[in-house]
Symmetry: C2
Subunit: 305 residues, 2 copies
């Protein structure tokens, strides 16, 4: 439903002069009256959809509610500045639950030097809702957008993919420092975080950039959790399928000019690893190439909102 | 419960250098790395507590969700810049409901030259939740705080009070332009918006300012809706009781140095009206003086979160 609403809003809303980047990227970029630029993003998590308190500690829910926003800032190569937090709490045990949520997110905020600037706390008869808004700052390298990939750019990814539902969906490290370091040292053309699935999020970059992409399947870094999940499910799906289609890895996909990509891959500046998994091409669409060199369409799969 | 959580957070959170104003005022004031200052505030409305969709058009709910945040900016005499909106929508009819919420808030955003910068839209099995975060800018007069009232300052209010539950709770005009105009023309020491009740919100100013206040009862501007509500309820409560204790008027209470107050009241620069209803004093606590000049304690009443 969200894509329908965004399409409607894009038609309905006149473009505002303050918006350097508006609806549809990982975060918005605002021009402030004093000449500065702010990045802003919001994510809401709801009981029963994003978590079940019967199954997961509230501290991990609080941490995740902040982490998904930090991942959006990472996708823009923006520096975190502050967050505000709105809660709808069940009437019974609300204060304790709120404290647990904060206990989970405070260490992550401190790690990223983020000011917790306030919030709104409500009691109601419904289940838990937590909505976090994060403000960030654009660095000298400028905001990284989804729309800047060019044919010939390497597709470079951080970390590994797939099976996050086994635990990483709550405990992932948003790639904020990694994005800032890469944006400082290398020219980057485009970026996105993989919240919905490697292939689906890659297709968002190609769509916004007006190009295509070829993924070399044997280069995709498959997470151990993807192996584990494939074994556990014992269905048709392979670990690679999970790497391509599972959501909530919160890694980065970057479009990097070829020479810079070569240097980056040789230097390997990140502890989480960097891999080149293919290349952006002029021809639209997503394509996969297997070990034998055969090229076929790659259907983007992942979590559709 | 919210005051308990804020008290706990004030202990738990180290003061962050970015926070010029943190938890507990109407909005936070952030120092950005580029030297600018941003104001940020969030409010969440939930079905069954803040509205019932069976009783009120979703457009008015959307408008209110933005308006309460604009009122918080008005309380700081800050200029609106941008908003992001997070929604939890019932699965059935969610898209249409989202469109109606936006149709309600878009005209108010345009009226205040506010950029709608994005959001997060979720479907779930629960009732409607709408969370709006608004960013603003500090003007040359600086942010207006709750903590600046001084003994001798006049208590000046905009508009009229009481009975907002009869309709104004959804259709009120956030006093943004009024606050900006007053802050530009007159020295203001402190401000708050009356979201929870005139006497309760006034007591917040005295508490944060470390002073007291005397309210001259016959000067309190009682709204026609307060008369109507008192007649309708036919209980012990008078229209003045409603003016002092009803929530959601979203007017401004200002602490104004005496000479400036005199000038302001003579000039009457606002269409909604400005009235002096009493004075801040050194002695702590709230006091009321009736027409006969008798002084008694005024118990702060209103909506307790």
């Amino acid at each position: 439903m969200e894509p329908d609403l965004i399409a409607w809003l894009r038609q309905r809303l006149p473009r505002h002069r303050r918006l350097e980047v508006g609806l549809g990227d990982d975060a918005a970029v605002l021009r402030m009256a004093d000449g500065g630029r702010s990045v802003v993003t919001v994510d809401m998590l709801t009981e029963g959809v994003d978590f079940r308190l019967a199954e997961v500690d509230a501290r991990r829910v609080g941490r995740k509610a902040l982490a998904v926003n930090l991942s959006d800032l990472a996708a823009m190569a923006a520096r975190p500045a502050a967050a505000v937090i709105a809660l709808a709490l069940p009437r019974s045990g609300g204060l304790q639950l709120a404290q647990e949520l904060y206990e989970g997110l405070i260490p992550l905020a401190e790690e990223h030097d983020l000011a917790l600037a306030g919030g709104d706390t409500n009691s109601w008869d419904g289940p838990l809702v937590i909505s976090v808004t994060v403000l960030g700052e654009v660095t000298a390298a400028g905001p990284l957008l989804r729309s800047g990939a060019r044919p010939g750019d390497a597709i470079v990814v951080t970390g590994t993919f797939g099976g996050s539902i086994l635990g990483r969906q709550f405990d992932f490290e948003p790639r904020v420092r990694e994005a800032l370091l890469l944006a400082e040292r290398y020219p980057l053309h485009a970026g996105i975080d993989t919240s919905d699935g490697l292939s689906l999020d890659l297709s968002r970059v190609t769509t916004e950039s007006g190009c295509g992409a070829v993924v070399e399947l044997d280069r995709v870094p498959v997470a151990p959790a993807a192996q584990e999940l494939a074994a556990k499910l014992a269905d048709e799906s392979t670990p690679l399928d999970h790497a391509l289609a599972d959501g909530e890895d919160f890694e980065l996909i970057l479009a990097v000019p070829p020479e810079a990509a070569e240097r980056m891959l040789a230097e390997q500046p990140l502890a989480c690893g960097l891999k080149r998994i293919g290349q952006f091409i002029a021809e639209p669409g997503l394509w996969q190439v297997d070990a034998a060199g055969e090229r076929r369409p790659l259907v983007p799969r992942g979590y559709e909102h």
